[in-house]
Structure formats: C-alpha cells, structure tokens
C-alpha cells in the first residue's frame, strides 16, 4: 500500500525526538560524523517588512512521487519501493558524486564522511511492511509528523502531505512575532 508522510508545522516544536528516534532506529554513528536522516529546524525568520516568524520544522526525504534523485543518480542506486512508494536505495555502487543532492530540492541526501557514500531516509519501509509506523512518526508526541496510507490521506482531507507542502513564507507573515509586541 502506498504511503504518504504528512507534517503539520503548527504542531511542531522542533523538540527533535524524531531525530533521536531516527538515530536509534538507523544506528547512526554520530561519533563518526554521520548525521541522521531527519533534520529539525527551530529557526527565526525575519521579514523585510518587519516581524519574525518562529519556524519549527522537521524535514527528511519527502518521498516525492516523481523523485528527481532517482533519475539523477548515475549508477541507479535509488529506486521506488513498489509497496510503500517510498524512495529507497542500495548504495553499494554509490560513487559519492552528490548528483542526488543537486537534484533534491529539500537537501535530504546525506554523505557519510567515512565511506563517502550517500545515505538517506528510506521511510522505514521495512517497518511499514511489518505493520509499524516509521520511527520518527512513532516518536512524535505532538502529531506533527504522521505517515498515512494513500487512502487514509485522501479521507483525512489534509493538505499537509510532505511532498506537496510548500509552505510559502508570505503565508506566515500574519503569524509573525511582532503582533504581540
């Protein structure tokens, strides 16, 4: 069954439990310079017109339907998992050329400094196939991150799918901090 990651920025606080869970699930070796596949942001964005928006975000691979990284990879490391629709990879032949990073609009691919190979979020697709939620979703206490089947997603009426979410900065101006000062 195809799955969709959803993210609701109005529920997030960048607590980074998702990052810790990702690290735990994927045995990320921080000591060796590895980074987990998810990244949270607690970022203050100033508008030129005044006011500051306090963004809290959690991002990882968006598992784009038409994932540009797949076509960009010169050795064909990246593919779609037929069941979940997630963008998965086998980096045996990865040459570390960073073509996938150039293709990805979200900065999702990471490079292990040890072997120079690309790693990325695989959506915990093996967990999904075994009836579990992705580790990051499981760790989100606030309902900001979720992973739904396509059907659940359609029925939810949500517009928060990660791969369609382009949260334009200007839509956030009304929420800028200035309104309380």
């Amino acid at each position: 069954m195809k799955h969709v990651f959803t993210f609701d920025p109005d529920r997030c606080c960048a607590c980074s439990a998702c990052m810790i869970a990702c690290t735990d699930q994927n045995d990320i070796n921080l000591k060796a310079g590895e980074k987990c596949f998810r990244k949270t942001y607690d970022t203050e964005v100033a508008f030129k017109e005044g006011g500051i928006y306090c963004a809290y975000l959690s991002t990882a691979c968006m598992h784009c339907e038409d994932a540009p990284c797949i076509a960009a990879c010169p050795v064909g490391c990246i593919s779609k998992d037929a069941d979940t629709g997630f963008t998965i990879y086998d980096n045996t032949n990865c040459v570390g050329c960073k073509s996938c990073a150039m293709a990805c609009p979200f900065g999702a691919p990471r490079y292990n400094t040890e072997d120079g190979k690309m790693v990325k979020c695989d959506g915990c697709y093996i967990r999904i196939k075994n009836g579990m939620k992705p580790a990051c979703v499981r760790a989100c206490s606030f309902g900001a991150l979720d992973c739904l089947t396509e059907e659940e997603y359609r029925n939810s009426g949500s517009d928060k799918a990660c791969n369609v979410l382009i949260d334009q900065a200007n839509l956030r101006k009304k929420e800028a901090l200035g309104r309380w000062r």
Binding site: C15, A21, T23, I126, R127, S141, L177
Partner: protein, 712 residues
C-alpha cells in the same frame, strides 16, 4: 541483503529476527512522569526504544530525552564497579573495589561519625531519579538521623507548600472539561510533553488559551489566543492586577467566595494597590492584552490554570506569586470544579493514583525526633510542610558546624550543581569525614565522593510505580544490569544487613518493603510483576470535582485562604506576609551599584528539548542537538553589545562567572538573558548567590537574578 537481514536491520521484533519487546519505564526525568517504555532486546542487548502504546500513562509517547534511552544506558562512562577515591576530592582518581569492601567501608565510616558526633551528622540526600526515596528515607531514620533531604529543596515543593497554605491541596488543571486554559508559565512542549495533547484538543473544540511566559515558546506560537510576554519574576504583580480587574468588573464569583474562602476583604484591599497601569509598568505588558486575558479567563466559563512546579517558584518572590495565582481560581470559583483546578493527592512518590499507600507511614514509624533538621527554623513554612531538611542551608551548616556539624553525606544521585554557589559547596565537601554517592555515571559530584557505587538504570531493574487513573506497576528488568551495577534499593537493603540496622523490613528487601506499603490495596508485588503493564487497582477512586471543598479544605480555616492563617501564626521576626503580596524579584540586588554593573535579568534554567537539569548533558545523541551551552540574548541587545550568534560570551553575577556561547533570538525580550542549567563547564548556579532565596520556601531565585554579559 535478504529479507530476513533487512528485517533484522530494521529491528522488527519476531521469532525469526530474535528481537523481543520487553516492557520497562523511562526514569530519566522526574517521577512525576516516567513513561512506559518498549525495549527492543536481542541477546540481552538493547537495540532500540519506543513508548509503550498500551501504557495508560504515556500511550506510546516519549519525549526527546526518553527516545535517547539506549544512548543514555550505554554511555561509555557508566560506572562499572564500586570505586574508592585515591586522589584529591574532585580530581576523579578512583580504584575499583568489591561490593563487600565498599559496604564494609561505608558501614565503618558511618558508624564512626555516629560515634564521634551523632547520627544526625550524617545527611542522607536523594537526587535523581528519586524512585528509591522511600527506602533511603527509612534507611536514614532507622540509622537514627533526622537529616533526609532531596532535590525537593529546589523543585516542586515551593508550589506544593503554596497550595497547602492556600487551598490545602494540590490542584492540577482539568483541561478536558475547561473552556479556557490559563497557561501560566506553560512550556509543555519541552518539559511536559504529555500535557500538549489535551491543550491541542481544547483548541480543536473551540476553547481558548492564554499563555504567560517570558519567552515566545512553541506553546505561545501554536496555542495562544492571547500571549502575555511578561517581564521575568513579575507574575505576582500581574496576578494581583488581574484580581483587581476581576473584582472591579464584577467577574468574581461572590457566592463561591462567600462559601469557600477566607480573607477576601483583606485580599480585596491588597489588590487595590495594583491598578492596571501600575501592573503594566511592572510587568511590561500592554494594558489591553491584560484586560482581555483577564476577561477571557474570568468570563468564559470554567477556566483552569497551569501550576508551574519550578519556573515561577524559582524566584525570591516565588511562593507568594504562586499563592497569588491560586487566588484567581478562588475569585472565579475555578478551584475544585469541573474544568477548573481539581485537587488530588499523591499515592506513591508524587504520583496521584487515586488510592493510598503507606509510603508516609513506612518512613514515619522510624523517624527520630531528637534534633533539629538542617535548615530548620530558617524557613518556617518549609519546616511545617516538608518532611525533610531544606538543603539550601546545607552549605552553611557544613561550613559553620552550627547548630551541630554535618560530617558525612550518603548521596544517591546527588547533584552539587543543583546548589547555588556550587563551587563553594564542593569546597566544603573537604570538611566531611565521609561522602558516599551512588550514580550511573562519574558525575561532577561523584568525583568528590570517597566511595562511589554503580547504580543501574530503570531498564536494568524492577521498580514499583503508581500512575494516574488508578494504576500500579512493578517493572521487570529488560536487560541485566550492566557490569557490576546494582539497583539503588538493593544497595540500601544489603547495606542495612551489613550494618545490621534495627529494621527487619528493610533487611527483607525492596519487594517486601513495597508489599508492606501497598498492603490494603488488594494486590501484591507478585501480582504486579505478573503483568507487563500497570495494573488497575480496585481501591482506586476517580477524582470527583467539588468533593474536596464539600469536605472542607485542609487549611487552618477549612477554607481557601486568601489570607493565610498559617503564615499569620509564624513569629513576626520572619517578616512573612499572610497575604500574597508582590515583591520585586531582584529586591535584594537592586542597589544602584549592582544594578549598573549587572544590568541584565538572567533566567538561569530555561527548558530546552534535549536536556533535563544536568541529567543528559553527556548523552551524545542529545548533546549533538545543541553541542554548546548557550546564553540566549535578545537580538537588539546583542547588536548593541556587538555580539554575534555563536560568539563566546562571559556572563557574570556578583557571585561568579560562566563562559558559553551567545544565541541570538527574538523570542526573549530586551534586557533578559536565559540559559539552560546543569552544565559542568558552564554551570548556571555559580551565578546564584546562596542567600538569594525565597524567605518562605528557601528556594533560590534561579530564574531571576542580575547578570552582565560581554564578548570575550
């Protein structure tokens, strides 16, 4: 990779992968929480953790810290064996010894102090994670010392005392039935993650949220209909100002006041001193916002208030500030009604299960009465409401030896960084004849101990735990104790045998003690252990709003006391005020010279998501989220001082200096600095003066003190 290898890599539990889920609990933070934990285990190794979905308390949720349990447990610096210090205190040079040898030394040294001075010269102290407190407490009393102390000396109790003085009962916000949530100092996201869901649900059903905070927090962003960014430590003035607005505008519930409160007239007179313009001058708030917030709180049906266990009370005016906030609930009839703040009492170690245990009797039956506790007579409200010494007087008593010397400390998870002027306290350890500390890691404090005992984590032991909703649990180890580490309570019970204390129950072991404490509830430890999940206790009763008031408050007058009869009864020499009047949070640091030299208002101990006190600063996964200790500073202040984000800065107070990095933010107001506490290399509490204390509770003013900042 074949399918099975992929499953093993993905840590899928099952017979084929050999991965099993074992149930435990996370004891990284305070026992007020302690979430159920699913431990993915293979061959005795922990592979991963998740919150237990079926657990009645956390329903699968874990916070950032809890999610890092594997990294916490397998920290490389776990203490592996009992250790004996061989270098100077604090240097960290130890040699391994056997458990027998360690027990032998402890027994001998404590007996010597008892012999030479008195049993009271041995202070027993519990730090985190507190779960062994009843056993340590009884051990202390059986040993013959009055001096059992805990980190309650700086956490939770001040709020608790204020509750006891005012309503006679703690009262949590009943969010599921409220219309308005007054999130006074409500952080939620970073400090009480399970509270966020109910607030979200309130918003989704159309309820209103007011957030009052010094910082523009995620809760302010995600929930606030009105956000009051208050000047630090001025909350008491705001509460009194709101009280005046409520009375003046006829929003007070006069029937309720008449029936259930005491001292309204005196209170009414007091709040006349807090007109809106004056309140706004003190708090830095906009009068319209204060008016609207007060109106919303008082006129939108049931409203409940977040009671802050530390943020508000970590000020020298803290206890009275909390009293002033409770008074708003009394004015509007929101105390003990559905959707207001509803009283309930702890069953076992702070947890309110709706049933009673003999936790208190367990220690009280052994309590000696032949000496004053440390700090006794200095903080009368503390003495009356707390069955332990006020540790904020420990440093003085070690230094001065008055009224009697303190010569030994038995610490479990003791944390010197909790104390103002930490540097002076660890120096004073030199005056001790003996100091033993049990901990999982070689902490800053443990380095000063003569003997260090290796504790195991909650995942490596069994422990009893009460949960809200009428539950009791007794966990089983998910993995065996690492190295030679042991459960803290086993150490105490074994030590009781070695020292041959006159206490058969303690000698019988932890499970026997637990059975004794829960007797009468229709379950035994054996029953609890038979379940992987908390067990519903048949004697547990749900909280019925209104029942408490019906019976009469546990206060001197049996009513909610605007005017505290208990405080009025104290010797006037203490200068305590029965009414919750406001004093400046920096009143003791406002002389012109200090003001000029230290112009910033420091909040030493803000909450950030990857830390809890000093507990997880050295957990690599969590540390990676914020590698450096940071001092948050408003962007305009930073600009004026020529400080850029990430610059090294020196923060000083009249008591000490810390060096850390600047974090520039718009979330703090100008003039305010904030930093997380507990770092060894940048210990916020060296900035705090030992006498910058709340005279009622003895709590240090951690979150309101004067500082300066400069680039170095």
């Amino acid at each position: 990779m074949n399918e099975l290898e992929k499953k093993i890599k993905a840590k899928i539990p099952g017979e084929d992968t050999g991965i099993e889920i074992k149930r435990s609990l996370c004891a990284i933070c305070s026992p007020g929480c302690h979430c159920g934990l699913d431990c993915y285990v293979k061959d005795g190794q922990l592979l991963k953790v998740e919150g237990t979905l079926e657990h009645p308390y956390n329903r699968g949720k874990l916070c950032t810290k809890g999610a890092a349990n594997r990294n916490y447990i397998y920290r490389e610096d776990r203490i592996r064996t009992p250790l004996k210090r061989v270098g100077p205190r604090g240097e960290g040079k130890f040699e391994p010894i056997s458990w027998d040898e360690a027990y032998g030394i402890i027994a001998e040294k404590l007996a010597a102090v008892k012999e030479k001075y008195s049993p009271h010269s041995v202070a027993f102290f519990s730090g985190y994670c507190k779960w062994y407190r009843p056993i340590l407490h009884r051990f202390c009393y059986t040993f013959g010392s009055v001096n059992f102390g805990t980190d309650d000396s700086t956490c939770f109790k001040s709020m608790d005392i204020a509750n006891s003085l005012t309503t006679g009962a703690p009262g949590g916000p009943n969010i599921p039935n409220t219309n308005t949530f007054l999130g006074w100092n409500y952080g939620g996201y970073y400090s009480n993650h399970l509270s966020v869901g109910p607030v979200r649900a309130l918003k989704e059903r159309g309820g209103k949220v007011i957030i009052i905070d010094v910082r523009y927090s995620p809760a302010a962003k995600n929930f606030a209909d009105i956000f009051l960014q208050i000047r630090p430590g001025t909350d008491g003035a705001l509460a009194l100002g709101m009280g005046k607005l409520i009375i003046d505008n006829g929003w007070a519930d006069m029937d309720y006041i008449e029936k259930h409160t005491y001292g309204f007239d005196e209170y009414k007179e007091l709040v006349q001193n807090y007109p809106l313009d004056k309140v706004c001058e003190i708090t830095g708030l906009n009068p319209d916002d204060v008016f609207e917030a007060t109106k919303l709180y008082a006129t939108n049906g049931p409203a409940c208030t977040n009671f802050s266990a530390s943020a508000l009370t970590h000020r020298v005016n803290g206890l009275q500030t909390h009293r002033a906030i409770i008074c708003l609930g009394a004015l509007t009839g929101n105390f003990d009604r559905p959707g207001g703040n509803v009283p309930s009492f702890a069953s076992y170690i702070h947890k309110r299960g709706g049933f009673t245990t003999r936790e208190m009797e367990f220690r009280e039956e052994k309590r000696p009465f032949d000496q004053l506790r440390i700090g006794e007579t200095r903080f009368p409200t503390w003495d009356e409401y707390c069955d332990e010494f006020q540790a904020m007087d420990l440093l003085r008593q070690i230094e001065e030896g008055r009224p009697y010397p303190v010569k030994a400390i038995v610490g479990f998870g003791m944390n010197a960084k909790m104390f103002p002027e930490t540097d002076k306290l660890v120096k004073a350890f030199d005056k001790l004849d003996f100091f033993v500390d049990a901990d999982m890691f070689m902490t800053y404090t443990a380095k000063y101990a003569d003997i260090v005992l290796p504790s195991c984590s909650s995942l490596e032991r069994g422990e009893m735990k009460a949960y809200e909703g009428g539950y009791l649990a007794f966990t089983k180890p998910a993995i065996p104790p690492l190295y030679e580490s042991k459960s803290d309570v086993d150490m105490l019970c074994e030590l009781a045998r070695v020292m041959d204390l006159d206490d058969d129950l303690l000698k019988a072991g932890y499970e026997a003690c637990c059975d004794w404490m829960i007797e009468g509830n229709g379950v035994t430890v054996a029953d609890l252990k038979a379940s992987d999940l908390p067990v519903k206790i048949q004697t547990a009763k749900p909280v019925v709003p209104g029942a408490y008031l019906e019976k009469g408050c546990r206060t001197p007058t049996g009513k909610i006391e605007f005017y505290s009869k208990a405080i009025a009864a104290y010797d006037p020499k203490y200068g305590l005020n029965p009414l919750p009047d406001y004093v400046d949070p920096l009143f003791d640091e406002n002389d012109p010279e200090t003001k000029e030299k230290y112009p910033f208002h420091m909040i030493a101990g803000i909450r950030i998501p990857n830390t809890i006190h000093s507990r997880v600063h050295e957990v690599p996964w969590l540390r990676s989220l914020r590698p450096d200790p940071l001092c948050e500073i408003n962007q305009d202040d930073a600009k004026n001082l020529g400080i850029n984000d990430g610059d090294p800065v020196e923060v000083s107070s009249p008591y000490g200096t810390v060096r850390l990095k600047a974090m520039i933010t718009a979330k703090l107001q100008p003039g305010v600095l904030a930093m997380a506490h507990g770092y060894t290399e940048a210990n916020a509490n060296v900035l705090v003066g030992r006498d910058h204390l709340d005279p009622y509770s003895g709590y240090p003013g951690f979150k309101s003190l004067r500082c300066s900042i400069r680039k170095y």
